[in-house]
């Protein structure tokens, strides 16, 4: 290090500081982002004695600059001379942890947490802990808020007297005058509990937890719910009933829907933390209440948890609990007045079938699925359809297919194109589940109809869908069912539909293979090069480039090349451009592969198209003619 420091005089600090002070915010920001470069130029010693004091003194900048500074300082340990000097970084970060803007403060706290790990235990007590104390007793709420995030990182590594002080400070902040600080303390309560010794969890944390959970502001109370999960995990089972459950019960019945929402949202975590006994006695009725809550927001959050909750019930009487307690509530939710509730339920309800088994599913769940498939809200129907695979495993899809079809058809013709798009995306899945026969019979027409949708995004998705179907059902199926219809559209009076033919060919050629591409698709593409609409013609050029690698070199030379050359002298600028693009693309390809048999060429290129082998690699493996 000594040798490197010899260059210090190269850059006078004044010049560098001028950069950090530049009038233009953007330039200042750039300089701060390269602070490590400056520090490196100064060397560790001058960074400590000159740069850091300057930074500490001038923290009155734009928040954006401060944010960058707070972030930089978290990675500065080496630049000030390693862990033994890391405490030099504390003064500027301390100031940053007191600024008003939340993002800056949070970043400063994050950096402080990071460098706290680099402090030795002694330094932690001499330098770091006093900083935490100063922040915790700051005048303005911002510093106290920041302090909340620092207790847990220094607590495990300090002596027991200091530990006692830290606990005291945390206690004080939990009953702070301003709700902002209480919120910060409540959100760190769980984290702090985790580093405390069990006896103090029982003596200190529980009382704080109880107090925060009955705070006058619901924004504080709801954060206590989060802490509840961590605290319950830490305590032995026998203490939960007396120490945690009264508060949790109260939270589940809180008069503010935000708190109840939080309980619903954290329900699976709570369930795991309190264990099976309490779940059976307390959480089941609480969950029932949440599912019947008067606020839709709460019901939706609870409905989202139905499957997870049921899955995690103790196995010995899981089925009985679900059938007698949960299912009746679920049945009501199916006809809820709020669509968000219904759609939350629809996204998980199918998962119950694996838990309840075939008979129960057919008797109890199937009517619910069918009802939701007929729901007026498309999102509900979509959610059911998207989870069909769960049911398929248990009872087979035949039970549903009769109701499924009208639902799919209605979604396929929905007035909102986003709904149509969503159902298209499930088509390959449905095709897999329902099998090729059912598909041909009922769904094929739909898939073809989407190709002439008036929204481009739908036509595009439909093309992609066809490709996936061919991958699933094979080239022969494609040849019989899809290809003729696609190629038929090449004569459509609407040029948009003619272009769709080209897009389909682009997508399908790979999956269909060389034979179909050369014999059936290529002639159509070539014929379309005479189209009177320029858009179609330049898409022909693009298509030819796209399918070229799949064709054999004979077809390329004798059929494709002349057409491209003709297009290259087209009157339209764009047609010319894309034709030339295609020609030069082929030239490149030919120059690599001409000495090889055509099959190899097709193979290697199609592999590359899928992106599995990089171009470079290919050039290395195929010897260059020169």
């Amino acid at each position: 290090m000594a040798g490197a420091d010899g260059d210090d005089s190269l850059y006078p600090i004044a010049v560098l500081i001028d950069e950090l002070r530049n009038e233009d915010v953007q330039l200042r920001l750039n300089s701060i982002k390269k602070l490590s470069t400056i520090a490196l130029a100064l060397g560790v010693e001058r960074t400590r004695t000159e740069l850091l004091p300057f930074l500490t003194d001038t923290i009155y900048d734009e928040d954006e600059v401060l944010l960058a500074l707070a972030e930089q300082l978290g990675n500065f340990t080496m630049l000030v001379g390693g862990p033994e000097y890391v405490h030099c970084l504390l003064p500027p970060l301390e100031s940053l942890a007191t600024v008003e803007e939340t993002v800056v403060r949070d970043k400063a706290v994050e950096s402080l947490r990071k460098i706290s790990q680099e402090h030795s235990p002694v330094d932690l007590e001499v330098h770091f802990e006093p900083l935490v104390k100063r922040l915790a007793s700051g005048d303005w709420f911002t510093s106290r808020t920041s302090a909340c995030g620092l207790f847990s990182v220094c607590y495990p590594r300090v002596s027991s007297t200091v530990k006692a002080e830290i606990r005291q400070h945390f206690r004080t902040l939990c009953s702070d005058d301003t709700p902002m600080v209480r919120r910060a303390a409540a959100s760190k309560l769980g984290e702090f509990a985790k580093v405390l010794e069990l006896e103090y969890v029982k003596s200190d944390i529980i009382s704080l937890f109880t107090a925060l959970a009955s705070d006058e502001q619901d924004s504080v109370r709801l954060l206590a719910v989060e802490a509840c999960v961590s605290i319950a995990t830490l305590l032995p089972q026998e203490d939960l009933e007396t120490l945690v459950m009264p508060t949790l019960r109260q939270a589940a019945e809180d008069k503010s829907w935000r708190v109840r929402y939080m309980v619903a949202d954290k329900f699976s975590e709570l369930q795991k933390a309190v264990g099976p006994e309490i779940t059976k006695n307390d959480l089941v009725p609480a969950f029932q209440n949440l599912l019947k809550d008067c606020e839709a927001e709460v019901r939706a959050a609870a409905a989202n948890k139905v499957k997870e909750f049921c899955e995690n019930l103790p196995e010995d009487n899981r089925e009985q609990i679900i059938m007698t307690h949960i299912l009746p509530c679920v049945k009501e939710l199916v006809s809820d007045t709020n669509q968000h509730v219904k759609s939350a339920l629809a996204s998980v309800i199918m998962g119950l079938s694996t838990i309840l088994g075939k008979d129960n599913t057919i008797e109890h769940l199937l009517p619910l699925f069918l009802a939701q498939l007929k729901d007026e809200c498309p999102e509900v129907r979509l959610n059911i359809i998207s989870n069909l695979d769960c049911v398929n495993e248990v009872i087979g899809i035949r039970q549903l297919s009769q109701s499924l079809l009208p639902a799919i058809v209605e979604l396929a013709e929905d007035a909102k194109w986003r709904v149509r798009l969503a159902i298209i995306e499930y088509m390959p899945l449905l095709a897999g589940q329902l099998g090729v026969e059912f598909f041909d019979e009922k769904l094929n027409t739909l898939c073809m109809a989407w190709l002439i949708d008036h929204v481009y995004a739908i036509r595009e998705a439909a093309t992609c869908n066809l490709m996936k179907l061919v991958e699933k059902f094979g080239a022969e199926w494609a040849q019989n069912t899809i290809v003729p219809k696609v190629l038929g559209m090449a004569n459509d009076p609407n040029y948009l539909h003619r272009m769709t033919t080209l897009f389909c060919i682009n997508a399908l050629s790979k999956a269909c293979g060389q034979e179909i591409t050369t014999k059936q698709m290529l002639p159509v593409v070539l014929k379309m090069s005479n189209d009177q609409v320029a858009n179609v013609r330049f898409n022909v050029a693009k298509s030819l480039q796209k399918i070229g690698p799949i064709l054999d070199s004979n077809a390329l030379q004798t059929e494709v090349k002349p057409v491209l050359e003709k297009l290259a002298s087209d009157t339209d600028m764009d047609v010319k451009y894309f034709a030339q693009e295609a020609i030069s693309g082929f030239k490149e390809m030919m120059s690599c592969v001409i000495p090889h048999p055509p099959d190899c060429c097709a193979l290697s290129w199609s592999v590359m198209e899928r992106g599995q082998i990089s171009c470079k690699l290919l050039l290395i493996t195929v010897p260059h003619p020169n």
């Binding site: 390269k34 008067c294 007026e376």
Partner: protein
């Protein structure tokens, strides 16, 4: 900008002004879902679940028919009767009970407003209890999570037919000549006020309008609560600025504060200055500034008129939070600056003219013509013009280069002609300085370019140096590793060198 949308005396009917919210309009959904949406437009709080079984109300005799001896007893009974809550989402449920309560509330309102001697001490706890039971409730979740108060129709409170009368009663109660603050303060306490303040988040503008008037009366009559109310408003604002960015009643609270600031004693307490610097100025950063900007600017100007020494804090604060990407807000800021300059003291003006006119110059060169135009309008304001003239020596050099450049470059003809006018004004003010600046313009520009090159050079050098150092460090680390026996490689110091080296690369 209009400050009050709906005065309490003329609340708009909740049933006439329904329009489908814009989110639903684009749906193109069949009619039935629109009808459903319409029903959901009004909402009610989540308190019904907690009410014990519904009591059947029976009509009581009219207050005006009651003998004087029984009047207070009957009044009390009516208050108790009005503590029963009804479900307004179900519009046909218990119509009889609703009507009885409505009639009782009407009577109570009229009695408090017109007859003297009704408000005796035992009635206070009953009245406050009736008010609390009715108005204090957890506000329901917003129907529209991306509710935009400027675009969307607010969701209205379903129980308004009763709620309005309760608020009306509360207001008459506070305004009654018989009202005794010394008795009321036992019941209208801190907890009560806190809950009252939370209601300002209501989406229903009619409710917020009542709350505004009521809180103003409470602040005026219950002196012991003043500091507490100010502190809690502070907390609401800070939470709005730094945590949620969502609170429906900011404009109403600011309106109250406007009149509170007006009454501040001089010299200003540090608490009040802190409120200005740490709460009012940061409020300018809010995304929804346009909704309450008029009220906010009013508060800011009030502060200045109280005590001119806060001017510098205000202007520097505004400059710190000057919008960078939102031109709409930039125009608002410029409007506020003009309001401030309208009442600024010349001595204060001299303290802030430099940073301020740098910003104004930046606005003039904005490609958004409304921003440039708004800034150039300052020269149409006679008072501002006189301030500029007095300080022409300072200001003209700050803005000259921008004016010169923009006059040649701006795409919008209106801006170009406005700039010519400004340049002409300056020429008339101080032709010598103007000529000097014109002459030195090119030279200055050259200097600037030179500085720019030097900067680039410096950074290039620094980066090269960094690269060399990096190589040295990694080499040193490698040598060190080779020297040491394999066991000690994992020592912390060693790892830190690597970790450090990694960060330089970033």
């Amino acid at each position: 900008m209009e400050t009050t949308k709906l005065p309490p005396s003329s609340p708009s009917s909740p049933t006439t002004s329904f329009s489908v919210p814009s989110a639903e309009k684009v749906d193109g959904f069949p009619r039935r879902s629109m009808r459903r949406a319409r029903q959901r437009r009004s909402h009610s709080s989540s308190q019904f679940r907690y009410q014990s079984s519904q009591v059947e109300l029976t009509p009581l005799p009219l207050l005006k028919d009651a003998p004087v001896a029984e009047l207070h007893d009957l009044f009390c009974k009516k208050l108790q009767q009005c503590c029963v809550l009804f479900d307004f989402l179900d519009c046909v449920a218990d119509l009889k009970g609703k009507e009885i309560k409505r009639a009782a509330l009407n009577e109570l309102v009229e009695s408090v407003a017109t007859s003297r001697g009704v408000l005796i001490e035992p009635l206070y706890p009953e009245a406050i209890k009736m008010i609390s039971v009715n108005i204090f409730r957890t506000l329901p979740p917003s129907e529209n999570p991306e509710f935009d108060p400027e675009e969307d129709e607010p969701t209205l409170e379903a129980s308004w037919p009763h709620l309005q009368l309760v608020y009306e009663f509360f207001l008459r109660f506070l305004e009654s000549p018989d009202f005794q603050p010394s008795m009321a303060k036992r019941y209208v306490d801190q907890k009560f006020v806190l809950q009252l303040l939370e209601l300002f988040d209501s989406e229903d503008p009619r409710e917020r309008e009542y709350l505004k008037t009521i809180l103003h009366r409470v602040y005026g009559k219950l002196l012991g609560l003043r500091a507490y109310i100010r502190k809690q408003i502070n907390n609401i604002f800070l939470r709005f600025i730094y945590e949620t960015e969502h609170f429906n009643g900011v404009a109403e609270l600011l309106e109250i504060l406007g009149s509170i600031i007006n009454g501040f004693a001089l010299p200003l307490k540090s608490e009040h200055k802190q409120f200005l610097v740490r709460v009012l100025i940061p409020l300018h950063t809010a995304k929804s500034l346009s909704i309450f900007h008029a009220q906010l600017a009013y508060c800011v100007v009030q502060f200045m008129e109280k005590d001119a020494t806060v001017t510098e804090y205000i202007i520097r604060g505004l400059l710190k939070y000057w919008p960078k990407t939102c031109t709409q807000k930039e125009v608002m800021f410029l409007g506020e600056i003009e309001e401030i300059l309208d009442v600024i003291e010349p001595s204060q003006f001299m303290r802030i003219q430099e940073p301020l006119f740098k910003q104004i110059a930046a606005c003039i060169s904005s490609p958004h013509f409304q921003v440039a135009e708004r800034a150039l309008y300052f020269w149409n304001n006679e008072y501002i013009l006189s301030l500029i003239e007095e300080n022409c020596q300072v200001i003209l050099p700050l803005v000259f280069a921008t004016l010169y450049r923009v006059s040649k470059e701006h795409w919008n003809q209106t801006i170009v002609s406005l700039i010519y006018n400004v340049l002409k004004t300056f020429m008339e003010m101080n032709s010598k300085l103007f000529d000097d600046l014109t002459a030195s313009y090119k030279v200055e520009k050259q200097k600037e370019l030179k500085r720019e090159r030097e900067r680039a050079e410096l950074w290039r050098g620094l980066e090269e140096y960094q690269e060399r150092r990096m190589q040295m460090l990694t080499e040193a680390a490698r040598n060190q590793r080779n020297l040491q026996d394999p066991k000690t490689i994992a020592e912390p110091t060693n790892r830190h060198i690597d970790a450090g080296a990694g960060t330089f690369l970033l």
